[in-house]
Subunit: 246 residues, 2 copies
């Protein structure tokens, strides 16, 4: 196993940070890594907004539903699906952009945002920094759009807090590999047994950590997914131009 794979396989989300700033040359290296990641058809349909200002990080922590670690860590990066940049390019050729109306445009741009996030996480961890991804900014996506002054045809997809770790997190166990990796075709047999086993694994994990609020996987997932988790996403995305019409 090489060092890059070791980093990937020890991934964990840190939620306790020191206030120490990240040296510019390290942050620049992390950002340039994401900048050089691929985008679908070289569309450049991703942008990032780097927030260091403490009051603004405090505001993002609130927008995300009270995530204190965003206020603690010195840097928060929002990854933005950006069809404003493409719009300027398309209109330069004398035709209107249409892609933002399609469900496909969300699949395509959000995949690229996920690549950027994965790239930032491993680049930051390669410098000994901790990271925690944050989908919570979609809870109040309208407030994020206002705070970051995001123009039409852009949407804040996901964020990541980065900083030096105070109290290190442990690595959460995963469901069995066979439930994740399928050979040649998707295999439904065995999924229920893997879930049953994982429910037990997580219960034991929470007990080890002394966490009394931890739920088995099924119950936690039911809590989140028996409803629409962030109901603002559809209307706010539509107001930004992502209408899902086509």
């Amino acid at each position: 196993m090489n060092e890059t794979v070791r980093l990937l396989q020890t991934h964990r989300s840190e939620r306790s940070y020191k206030p120490d700033p990240i040296p510019n040359e390290i942050l620049d290296d992390i950002i340039e890594s994401a900048h050089l990641a691929p985008t679908s058809m070289n569309s450049h349909q991703v942008s990032i907004v780097v927030v260091k200002d403490a009051a603004r990080r405090q505001r993002i922590a609130e927008i995300a539903g009270g995530q204190s670690w965003i206020a603690q860590a010195p840097v928060f990066i929002t990854i933005v699906a950006d069809f404003n940049k493409t719009r300027i390019g398309v209109e330069k050729t004398g035709v209107p952009q249409q892609t933002q109306h399609s469900v496909e445009s969300i699949f395509s741009s959000v995949t690229d945002c996920g690549i950027a996030l994965g790239t930032i996480m491993v680049a930051a961890r390669s410098y000994g920094l901790g990271i925690v991804p944050c989908g919570g900014l979609r809870k109040n996506a309208d407030a994020m759009i206002e705070l970051l002054e995001l123009p039409a045809y852009t949407f804040p997809v996901v964020g990541v807090a980065i900083g030096y770790i105070d109290k290190p997190a442990s690595q959460k166990p995963r469901m069995a590999l066979a439930s994740y990796c399928h050979e040649e075709r998707y295999h439904t047999e065995g999924l229920r047994a893997a879930i049953d086993a994982y429910d037990t694994t997580l219960e034991e994990y929470w007990k080890q950590l002394g966490r009394t609020d931890g739920l088995p996987w099924s119950k936690n997932t039911a809590k989140n997914y028996s409803k629409v988790y962030y109901p603002k996403v559809k209307p706010v995305a539509a107001a930004q131009g992502f209408t899902c019409e086509d």
Copy 2:
């Protein structure tokens, strides 16, 4: 700059592969890296399907619109948004899953698929392998679903071909960093100038490579984004249960 960041900053998509198989222990390490990547709220809403069978890779090359490198490279991994696994967990607790009806569920799961893709790409490149991501499988997502026997509540988001490089690709230049990375808030000024400069950069790049089919960025983006690029995505996703109703 450390080795991980060097790998990230030298990212390129390879489109010429030797037929040599990937040793199992290397492929296992790449897959385990993706398996240990995070998913939103530990939902495990991602699965992968690993195709090695040559006839099936040939079929995927056709489905993706004629991407010969998928038939050439020994391994193709499809990354699947998987609300089937979560459904089994949610229903185990006695309630129905609702999340798949929401636009939010696409943002959330596709971000996680992008993280998995980014993880697979850098893990593979750390072993000297080449990779090329493939969104083209969404062109005929219905055929991919049939080939991979994907059940309801799953969708093939993106794929990646992996193998040993035959003729190495060069790294495509990017638009100026200032058009990608914004400080504190999104800055619209300067975008048009960055696009104009990048149009020139890409024209020169294609000329250097002797590629007569290469377009400036604006024209290429207009060709793709003045229409709905993959119109099947919305109806096929809806048929799988991703209705975008909420």
